[in-house]
């Protein structure tokens, strides 16, 4: 499923409790880091993996601090994202 802005992504995630969230830090209405903090308040890392993607490579530390499992700087190869996702889900 897909969310169109920060607020919607938080609502969707808390409603469906997905195994994986791919989150861009650059979002309308609410910042990605805020979204991540709100999700992590309800969903522990064992339940939901969060991959943060951002065009801003310096955001990595803030992403991990807020509870991201992985950080992927934009632009990235789709295979790269796929490898990370596979790796995560096989661990679970």
């Amino acid at each position: 499923m897909e969310a169109h802005d920060g607020e919607e992504s938080v609502e969707l995630a808390l409603e469906h409790r997905p195994q994986l969230v791919i989150l861009d830090f650059m979002l309308p209405k609410r910042s990605g880091s805020d979204v991540l903090t709100a999700i992590r308040r309800e969903l522990p890392p064992e339940e939901t993996h969060v991959i943060v993607v951002s065009a801003w490579p310096d955001a990595d530390e803030a992403a991990v601090a807020a509870g991201a499992d992985a950080f992927l700087p934009k632009p990235f190869e789709p295979e790269h994202l796929e490898a990370i996702v596979r790796n995560m889900l096989s661990d679970a």
Partner: protein, 502 residues
């Protein structure tokens, strides 16, 4: 007993040991409590560092929000993307102030926090606000490379500052944790050493108790049971710490006292036995000595009563009975005298007499008694003045004469001599009889001494010489004898001459 250098008492030693132990335990506790406080302190510092780190990360997140908001607006031209930037601008001042306050404990970190705050404020004012305005007025110009490059450089600068701030804070936390570790290690070592010392002290104390208290007490106990078993010669090695030393000394005193008491009791017992023996001797002698004359008396009286005898014979029998009766009377008197002597009650009725006359009378009395014996008296013409009891002194002389005759069974001459030498009257009676063997001479004056007399069938009570010597000594004189077996004896006595004016 040691006086002056007395060792400290046991209770003092016990108290001293307990105090040392208590001090040691207290020291261990102080060290442990100190270490615990240090650990607590370091934990607090760590928690504080954690707070600082959390706050810093929150600041970092807000900076990311600023950047992503601005960039979102620039790229999309959509005002909704700017929302995070608006919210971060509102939240940042409070967060930065909180960070500055939190890092107040470390001036260096506080300076860094201030620099970080001014850098972020500069970034907001000098870069994000112009870019936002530009994006609203001329979106194309805002998307130019120059604008984004400057933003990237500025956020990188902020990111570096945040990283170094975080690193410093983590280093501080690690240092404090390491110091806490060191302190706790030191405390652990100290506590282990202290506990080992405690254990060693307790073991030492135990050894001391066993060696210096339990063992001496056991010695005293076994000594006491030996004494209880009757071995009063038991003695303990005196000494030992404090009360133990006193105990051994007191024990030895008690044993000595008991031993002395027992030996006193034994000697008293011995005396009692001796007197018992003498009594039975007395009974034996009395019955033996009385039986012989009594048998004569009874025998001759029954002859006189049952048979007709002529007047001459009658007279002879009566003389015998009379003589035996007198012998009985003498014996009884002797026994009474001996008894009085024993009780120290010999009474003398003294006056100045001429001892020569007393001797002459006795010699006359004994002269006719035996045909076999000749009495040869050598007396001075001058009177021998003596202050004495004539009857008692006559008894003494008579005893000596009687002995001289009795112990010369084969007859012979009895020499009686009296003389005054200076202020002393000396009387001697010498016979030529059996004499007294050397081994028996020592006991001659003892009560009931009979020498070989019993075996030789010589009658007597064994009291005569005892009484005689006591009488002489009661007059202030002395009496002794010289004798050799088979050569006869010579008994002599010496009395002081009576004072001239009487």
């Amino acid at each position: 007993m040691r006086i002056g250098s007395r060792s400290p008492s046991l209770s003092a030693r016990m108290i001293a040991a307990s105090v040392v132990l208590a001090l040691l335990v207290a020291l261990i506790f102080v060290v442990l409590i100190d270490a615990m406080a240090a650990l607590e302190d370091s934990k607090q510092r760590e928690a504080h560092s954690q707070d600082v780190v959390v706050e810093t990360l929150a600041v970092q997140k807000l900076v990311v929000d600023l950047e992503t908001g601005v960039r979102g607006l620039v790229i999309t031209g959509d005002e909704r993307f700017l929302q995070p930037w608006v919210m971060a601008r509102e939240a940042l001042p409070a967060r930065l102030a909180a960070l500055e306050t939190l890092s107040a404990d470390n001036p260096k970190q506080q300076r860094r926090a201030r620099a970080l705050a001014s850098e972020i404020n500069g970034y907001i004012k000098d870069y994000t606000i112009p870019v936002v305005n530009l994006a609203r007025d001329a979106p194309a110009a805002a998307r130019s490379e120059v604008a984004t490059e400057e933003g990237r450089a500025r956020t990188r600068e902020i990111g570096d500052r945040i990283k170094s701030f975080l690193n410093e804070e983590r280093a501080l936390a690690a240092a404090s944790a390491a110091s806490a570790d060191r302190q706790s290690d030191r405390a652990k070592n100290l506590a282990i050493a202290g506990l080992a010392a405690c254990a060693a002290l307790i073991v030492l104390f135990g050894v001391y108790l066993a060696r210096w208290i339990a063992r001496p007490v056991r010695d005293v106990a076994s000594g006491a049971s030996r004494v209880a078993g009757g071995d009063f010669s038991t003695r303990l090695k005196e000494g030992g710490p404090g009360e133990i030393g006193e105990l051994t000394v007191a024990f030895n005193r008690m044993a000595e006292e008991l031993e002395r008491n027992r030996s006193e009791l034994e000697s008293q017992n011995e005396k009692l036995r001796e007197s018992e023996r003498r009594k039975s001797d007395l009974v034996r002698i009395v019955s033996h000595e009385l039986r012989t004359p009594l048998a004569s008396v009874l025998g001759f009286t029954s002859v006189l009563l049952t048979r007709d005898v002529g007047p001459d014979e009658q007279r002879r029998y009566l003389e015998i009975i009379n003589a035996q009766g007198r012998r009985l009377s003498t014996l009884v008197n002797d026994f009474l005298d001996a008894d009085r002597l024993e009780e120290g009650q010999l009474e003398l009725s003294r006056r100045v007499i001429d001892l020569g006359i007393v001797i002459a009378e006795q010699v006359q009395l004994f002269e006719g008694q035996s045909a076999k014996h000749k009495l040869d008296a050598f007396l001075p013409v001058k009177e021998l003045r003596v202050d004495g009891d004539p009857n008692r002194l006559a008894q003494v002389i008579g005893n000596l004469l009687s002995n001289a005759i009795k112990y010369s069974p084969d007859g012979g001459t009895v020499h009686v001599m009296a003389e005054q030498v200076d202020s002393i009257v000396r009387v001697s009676v010498r016979d030529e009889g059996i004499g007294i063997p050397e081994e028996l001479q020592e006991g001659v004056f003892a009560k009931f001494f009979r020498g070989d007399a019993d075996a030789s069938g010589i009658p007597g009570s064994g009291l005569g010489l005892t009484i005689a010597r006591s009488v002489v000594e009661a007059h202030g004189g002395r009496m002794n004898f010289e004798s050799a077996r088979g050569k006869g004896s010579m008994f002599w006595l010496e009395l002081p001459v009576a004072a001239a004016d009487e």
